[in-house]
């Protein structure tokens, strides 16, 4: 008995580890379903949001240029100056969101388990973004971004329609006693939401986020902001 005791101890540890592994393999992605949002109902939840959604340039520029404005000299770049896209990565179920601002682009992919921040450029209605171990290329037009997403060894296609606040991409950063916290959220018009919070090499599914409200992360208030605020800040 006493000779086998230590073996039982090791075996018990191994059994628990295997059981946790089996349970984890079955776990589904953590896409949350929150109440579906109307584009018009929540725009007044904060002054920043209200002013942003009131800006006329918030809509995507039509893909076919109007002949009166472009002139005849050189074909103008019809890439939207400001547009937000969000959709589902086909075959993964994770969400992808892209924000374009004056030739710059940021994107976030998240399925609750893995996440990737990407940055790049938008020109000639094409966006190319790179992140750590991740890549997005997509064509803009017809009110959507359509392209490919690669995270690690996995590749997915996606079609991300133009979205308006409160849907779209959000990011919150905070530095707490030397540790940098980065949270990312994607909200779809149908109420689907996903997000993660990363800190010091750790990451975990983000607490649920209601656009306009702060998010409580272990007692630390995170204030998710829209891409206008972090377009230059994302460093994958």
């Amino acid at each position: 008995m006493s000779r086998l005791g230590p073996m039982y101890t090791l075996a018990a540890g191994a059994v628990i580890a295997v059981a946790l592994g089996a349970a984890s393999l079955k776990a589904a992605p953590v896409i949350q379903q929150v109440a579906a949002q109307e584009d018009t109902s929540q725009t007044a939840s904060s002054p920043a949001e209200a002013s942003a959604s009131a800006t006329p340039e918030a809509s995507e520029t039509p893909t076919t240029p109007t002949p009166t404005t472009t002139g005849t000299a050189t074909p103008a770049d019809t890439t939207p100056k400001k547009a937000d896209y969000a959709g589902v990565a086909q075959g993964n179920g994770g969400l992808v969101a892209i924000a374009v601002r004056n030739g710059k682009a940021v994107a976030y992919f998240c399925d609750g388990h893995i996440e990737a921040w990407l940055k790049g450029t938008a020109e000639n209605n094409t966006i190319t973004l790179e992140g750590r171990d991740s890549l997005i290329t997509a064509a803009l037009g017809g009110g959507r971004a359509q392209g490919r997403l690669q995270v690690g060894h996995a590749k997915w296609r996606f079609v991300a329609p133009v979205v308006k606040k409160p849907s779209g991409l959000y990011r919150a950063t905070a530095i707490v006693r030397g540790a940098k916290i980065v949270g990312g959220w994607i909200v779809l018009p149908n109420g689907q939401e996903v997000g993660r919070v990363a800190i010091g090499g750790n990451g975990e599914p983000a607490p649920q986020f209601t656009p306009g409200s702060p998010v409580d992360y272990y007692g630390i208030p995170l204030r998710p902001q829209d891409p206008d605020y972090f377009i230059d800040e994302v460093t994958p």
């Binding site: 230590p6 349970a23 540790a179 007692g219």
Partner: protein, 183 residues
């Protein structure tokens, strides 16, 4: 049971298998943590506000029990004048529970995050974690063997204790001082 129970045929030879197996365990965990793509998610113990808090508190429980381990071991070896039958029982079961408390933590770390070397704290934590399970395995395998040098169990146990405290400092202590004492 104390160190006067010495057989003339003391040898480090019986220690070979426990040390080799322990080394293999440590290397296997490190290779796994490095080679597989972190899943970013793992099932853990419910009841905490998140996996970080879960790991911080389970590790704290294990670290407290590890202190019980050192004290009860000292009593068993006559360094503390307590000679009661329950000391050995206390040592055995506090060790067992401490080890089992660490399993969900290590599982979450390795399965969800993997071994990382970007930041000193995280690197030290990754290496210590692999080392801890190697030493612990070696100690468990050495326990029932006869004819081992007298220093075997104190050294292996001391290393396991040191590694666990190091793990606590690089995880729970960091969590409590950075984020706060949160459940």
């Amino acid at each position: 049971m104390n160190d006067t129970h010495v057989t003339p045929k003391q040898s480090v030879a019986p220690l070979l298998v426990p040390l080799v197996v322990g080394g293999l365990v440590a290397v296997a965990l490190g290779v796994y943590g490095r080679a597989h793509a972190p899943t970013g998610f793992a099932v853990g113990v419910a009841g905490f506000s998140g996996p970080l808090a879960m790991k911080a508190w389970l590790t704290t429980g294990a670290a407290l029990l590890a202190i019980v381990q050192v004290l009860s071991a000292m009593a068993m070896w006559g360094k503390i004048k307590v000679s009661a039958a329950w000391v050995a029982l206390l040592h055995r079961w506090s060790g067992r529970i401490a080890f089992l408390l660490t399993i969900p933590v290590a599982f979450h770390c390795l399965y969800s995050l993997g071994a990382q070397y970007d930041v000193p704290r995280v690197m030290i934590h990754s290496l210590l974690g692999c080392f801890f399970y190697g030493v612990f395995t070696a100690k468990m395998l050495a326990l029932p063997r006869r004819g081992l040098p007298g220093w075997t169990l104190p050294v292996l146990g001391g290393l396991a204790f040191t590694a666990l405290i190091g793990l606590w400092l690089t995880s729970s202590f960091w969590f409590f001082t950075t984020i706060g004492v949160r459940f």
